[in-house]
Symmetry: C2
Subunit: 259 residues, 2 copies
DNA sequence: GCAGTTTGTGCGATTATCGAACATAAGTTC
DNA sequence: GAACTTATGTTCGATAATCGCACAAACTGC
């Protein structure tokens, strides 16, 4: 029996079902009914209901009439990770410092499946927020964001076709690249340049930049920032330079060692 | 059959066990062995192992030799909550704005069981970090922090003795209040004053302030800030005023409606 | 009020889970 | 290196927990 087979034999199907219920609350809607939950998880209605009621009992979900929604207690799970890795001490101040230099928010992200996963973010107080209100734990599209493009550029060539087809490209704006060939070319370009830039592909009027945190032998990790097009002030070279300094500061950051 | 009994009958014991494994990774240690995990959860070793291997299979845990640790994927669970409630749009900018006024970081928190749970924290760059590196999802002590004291002041009188005894007071510094009577008195004082202040009780040399977000009929919610003692600059009245303005701005915040 | 949809519940078949016992591996001390 | 201790991996059968079906109750929209 190989290690994979042994691992599969030791997997608890019921725990998986419970986690699937929890993961179905992915932030797209405020709450879900049992029928929606059963559809989202593909589980029998009665099974999904039992999973949900268990999570209610544990305090991770609350029930309001027919709707179920996550409670703040789920933040503890993320806190377990963030605290164990000392993000608050070692990552957040780095992002905060460079974001102040740059005058716009900075985001640290990696690839999780077919999405960009936001690990940390420094947001500033300015009259007009640049982003959609993303937070730690937010998913962004892999294909049409600068973060995602840069993350794809960190992948091995042979992995790209599958990643690109697994993340079918809905077009967010008229400017979003449509064909896998175009996307592949822009990934190649990002790799050659050492940075990725997208212009209005995900959010109209928003220019995104991303650079890699160079860590050979580790999972791809990137930092990025956005500006509103035409905002002036911060030019491309200065932005890239600051992002690269930030990436350099994160290079041997102990909080990121385990990623 | 009452609603409680019906809920208990529909609870999945196996899902509970799997969640207990996940919750055992509470950030206190970087990783845990199976033996530690079995002890932490009180489960039979083989059961804890199956739970852990299931979570590894799902991507929420990783195994490194004998140690298991959380992966960044757990941030998605928190992201589900933060996104569903629009924290990034509606809460973060409020905290950041007032933190800029105040010149120190501001924290939003509520009570979760016997702990303070950090919901959000401003991300501005201040010259000197005041805190221990707390993050979203961090737990703080209920009894010896200004946040915790203010949260206790939001509780009904008859609930206080149980809450105080459930959170046995380790003393963090020489200045930490030791006896339940002293703690109760300071909670009473916080209630009368409309703010809580602690001086060196949790972190030596750190003065903490907290004020409630007034929301009758809702769970207690507080905002707080810390200063290093002797730092000058920011006086007490100005700090309290800013915290109170921040609390007022959060009073009818739609992101916090469901709490 | 009616039709359609959703939720709650009971029940028994059966499947998944459990933990004991044993084997193997790793770590510590001398 | 040997002996001891601790930890991990595996197998297996008893059985407890889970499952999903069917029905009842509740809700929603016209």
């Amino acid at each position: 029996m190989s290690q994979d087979e042994s691992a599969l034999k030791s997997v608890s199907l019921t725990v998986m079902k419970g986690m699937a219920v929890l993961a179905a609350f992915d932030g797209r809607t405020h709450s879900m009914t049992l029928a929606e939950l059963a559809r989202a998880t593909g589980q029998d209605r009665a099974t999904a209901r039992r999973g949900a009621l268990t999570l209610v009992q544990l305090g991770y979900l609350q029930q309001n009439g027919r709707g179920f929604s996550l409670t703040p207690k789920v933040l503890l799970i993320a806190g377990g990770f963030l605290q164990a890795n000392r993000f608050g001490l070692h990552v957040q101040p780095v992002l905060n410092g460079h974001a102040e230099t740059l005058g716009t928010e900075i985001t640290l992200a990696l690839r999780e499946g077919s999405d960009v996963l936001l690990l940390a973010q420094s947001t500033l107080h300015h009259g007009r927020p640049v982003s959609f209100g993303f937070t730690v734990g937010s998913r962004l599209p892999l294909l049409h964001t600068s973060l995602g493009r840069m993350l794809l550029a960190c992948e091995a060539d042979e992995a790209l076709p599958d990643l690109i087809s697994a993340a079918p490209p809905p077009r967010y704006t008229d400017l979003s690249l449509a064909s896998p060939a175009e996307i592949t070319e822009s990934i190649r370009q990002a790799r050659a340049d050492g940075y990725a830039m997208t212009d209005g592909e995900f959010e109209a009027g928003i220019v995104g930049f991303a650079v890699p945190v160079s860590r050979p032998g580790h999972r791809g990790l990137v930092v990025g920032a956005n500006v509103a097009r035409g905002a002036g002030g911060t030019d491309k070279d200065r932005m890239l330079q600051t992002l690269q300094l930030c990436a350099a500061d994160l290079r041997r950051n102990e909080a990121l060692e385990a990623l």
